[in-house]
């Protein structure tokens, strides 16, 4: 009974994982290097 909903939810989760992981790597790199640039600018 609940199986079609589970299929839908699992499919959405499986597709969204690509975007989630790539946005995580991008945002971590952007914030890390921006933070390092700000801290360098203090000196």
């Amino acid at each position: 009974m609940i199986a079609p909903f589970l299929i839908f939810i699992e499919a959405v989760s499986y597709i969204a994982r690509v975007f989630s992981l790539s946005i995580r790597l991008f945002a971590n790199m952007l914030s890390g290097h921006a933070l390092l640039k700000i801290l360098i600018g203090f000196s």
């Binding site: 690509v18 975007f19 992981l21 790539s22 946005i23 790597l25 991008f26 790199m29 952007l30 290097h33 921006a34 933070l35 390092l36 640039k37 700000i38 360098i40 600018g41």
Partner: protein, 136 residues
């Protein structure tokens, strides 16, 4: 007008601008040059490896190889470790990209969304293609 150097506010986000470099053909950008440098560093590092570890680079490469191999063996349950090279290449691409990005006046290729999304999308398509081919 003279501005003292300690009053200049540095823009922390200008290091992520993709600029066209006036070099060889003119079609070279910041991002593509650093992608090529990434591949060159990886090839130089891997090809200079000797099996008797005499160098610090060899030692680091060997210990990172053991690290990636243990990670793959823990997480990937296939009998032959046939997808090890893909994950090894992925690990070293990201490692060298982030190490090169630490150099001042350099560029970090993983801080542009095109590169990370390209990596994620190619691996997604490849994994699904392999799954459909193998379990059809």
């Amino acid at each position: 007008m003279f501005i003292p150097i300690f009053l200049v506010v540095l823009d922390p986000l200008e290091q992520f601008d993709v600029l066209a470099l006036p070099l060889i053909g003119g079609g070279l950008t910041n991002l593509s040059l650093l992608l090529a440098i990434n591949v060159v560093i990886m090839l130089a590092w891997f090809s200079s490896y000797s099996a008797q570890v005499t160098n610090n680079y060899d030692f680091v490469l060997r210990s990172l190889y053991m690290l990636v191999r243990s990670m793959v063996r823990e997480n990937l349950y296939v009998r032959k470790q046939q997808y090890f090279t893909v994950l090894f290449y992925l690990f070293f691409t990201l490692l060298i990209a982030n190490l090169v990005g630490m150099v001042p006046y350099s560029f970090t290729i993983t801080s542009s969304f095109v590169v990370t999304f390209f990596i994620a999308m190619t691996h997604f398509v490849a994994i699904n293609h392999l799954a459909v081919v193998k379990h059809q």
